[in-house]
């Protein structure tokens, strides 16, 4: 046990080192690769502080999907990247450095002298778990206690997607997102692009299924599904859907609409907005989580795919 602090210290230094690299790397692509490593290392950090739910999310979104989003941008912007980076003046950098150091020191002081005993809602959260027929308190917070946050956050995702779509040219509106996929001539790549998705889909569904009692959930499962879909689209194995397609829109909104319908149904069956009836909370929670996983997967996939840049026919 005495060795654990050493492990944690090494991990913390490694995370800071990689963050530093991401900040100072000369080429954007190199910085992005550093960032992918950063996201994965944060997954280790979260495992170290026993937040498995967050670790799953961070590894999937931070290292995985965000990483790929930035990789693509770096690859596309590379041809015109200015060779020597235009740097602001030394005085400016020193001043900013001092400011940031003050922020860090302020936070460090707060970390070093925390409120004692630490406030916690863990007991309150645990109290209602049996009534909700859930074992995972994080799921309970997301889907019950703070359901409004989760619902509004689904709308945030939708707005982000509308924002991404809005950046396409008028003439392609309603068409296929992104440019034409890569022509894959590499058999190893095809193999990988065919191999990973089935594994990922099983894993994603497992994460959703296990989330009632174990770490996991709609976010984690949805992200893994999204990653697999993105891979299949990138390798040209699956054509992206036309953004004007009614079926796609319905799929995209299915989780949000179900959530809202269940929310308003609460007025009738459980005495209030987003209340769950005592008789069958788990059934309703699953009813929300399944389409929500799909919504998250589809939205994340489309967010990475970008605005419509091709017509439906192409």
């Amino acid at each position: 046990m005495t060795l654990l602090p050493l492990y944690y210290g090494l991990l913390a230094l490694l995370v800071i080192g990689v963050a530093w690299w991401t900040l100072v790397a000369r080429e954007t692509m190199a910085a992005v690769i550093g960032f992918i490593a950063y996201g994965m290392l944060l997954g280790l950090v979260w495992a170290g502080i026993a937040s498995v739910d967050v670790a799953l999310t961070e590894a999937a979104i931070g290292g995985g999907v965000t990483g790929v989003l930035l990789l693509r941008a770096a690859a596309r912007l590379r041809p015109t990247e200015p060779a020597p980076h235009e740097k602001p003046g030394l005085v400016f950098r020193v001043l900013v450095g001092i400011f940031c150091a003050i922020v860090t020191i302020g936070l460090a002081v707060v970390v070093l002298f925390p409120t004692d005993p630490a406030p916690s809602l863990a007991i309150a959260a645990a109290e209602h778990l049996p009534a909700l027929e859930l074992g995972n308190p994080v799921t309970a917070v997301l889907i019950a206690y703070r359901a409004l946050d989760t619902m509004l956050e689904k709308v945030v995702l939708l707005l982000a997607l509308i924002g991404v779509w809005s950046l396409g040219p008028d003439r392609n509106w309603g068409g296929l997102p992104g440019r034409a996929p890569a022509v894959v001539t590499d058999s190893a790549l095809t193999f990988l692009a065919k191999l990973l998705p089935p594994i990922g889909i099983v894993f994603g569904v497992y994460l959703l299924w296990t989330s009632a009692d174990n770490p996991g959930g709609a976010f984690q499962g949805g992200t893994v599904l999204a990653a697999m879909w993105i891979l299949a689209m990138m390798a040209g194995l699956r054509a992206p859907p036309a953004i004007g397609s009614r079926a796609l829109r319905l799929l995209l909104l299915s989780g949000t609409i179900t959530f809202i319908v269940v929310g308003f149904a609460g007025f009738l069956i459980a005495g209030g907005f987003l209340s769950y009836p005592a008789a069958f909370p788990k059934a309703l929670i699953l009813l929300i989580e399944i389409p929500m996983t799909l919504t998250i997967a589809v939205t994340l996939g489309l967010l990475v795919s970008g605005p419509a840049e091709r017509d439906k026919t192409s």
Binding site: V52, F203, G216
Partner: protein
């Protein structure tokens, strides 16, 4: 046993750190991308050890997810950085 497994974890993490330091320096992006590969296996090993050390089997799920997404990120990298597209000449700069 815990102490031994922790020690193994520390050693592996240290080798990951050394490897990352070497890889990120490049000069090739493909080489830098080995960082994902290195974390995919080194990180997985460390996580598996800590799942046993801490007695939280769910940490294995993190390992699975990191292994999966490391492969995903590498594939995406190869496709984006070196893939030729249908709509543009193969010999773009």
């Amino acid at each position: 046993m815990t102490v031994f497994l922790t020690l193994a974890g520390i050693i592996i993490l240290a080798t990951v750190a050394a490897g990352l330091w070497r890889i990120l320096r490049g000069p090739e992006d493909a080489e830098r991308m080995m960082a994902a590969q290195l974390l995919g296996s080194g990180g997985v090993a460390v996580l598996l050890l800590s799942a046993v050390i801490s007695g939280i089997p769910a940490i294995i799920d993190i390992a699975l997810s990191i292994a999966l997404l490391a492969a995903f990120a590498s594939a995406a990298f190869v496709l984006e950085a070196f893939g030729t597209r249908g709509d543009e000449p193969a010999d773009r700069p």
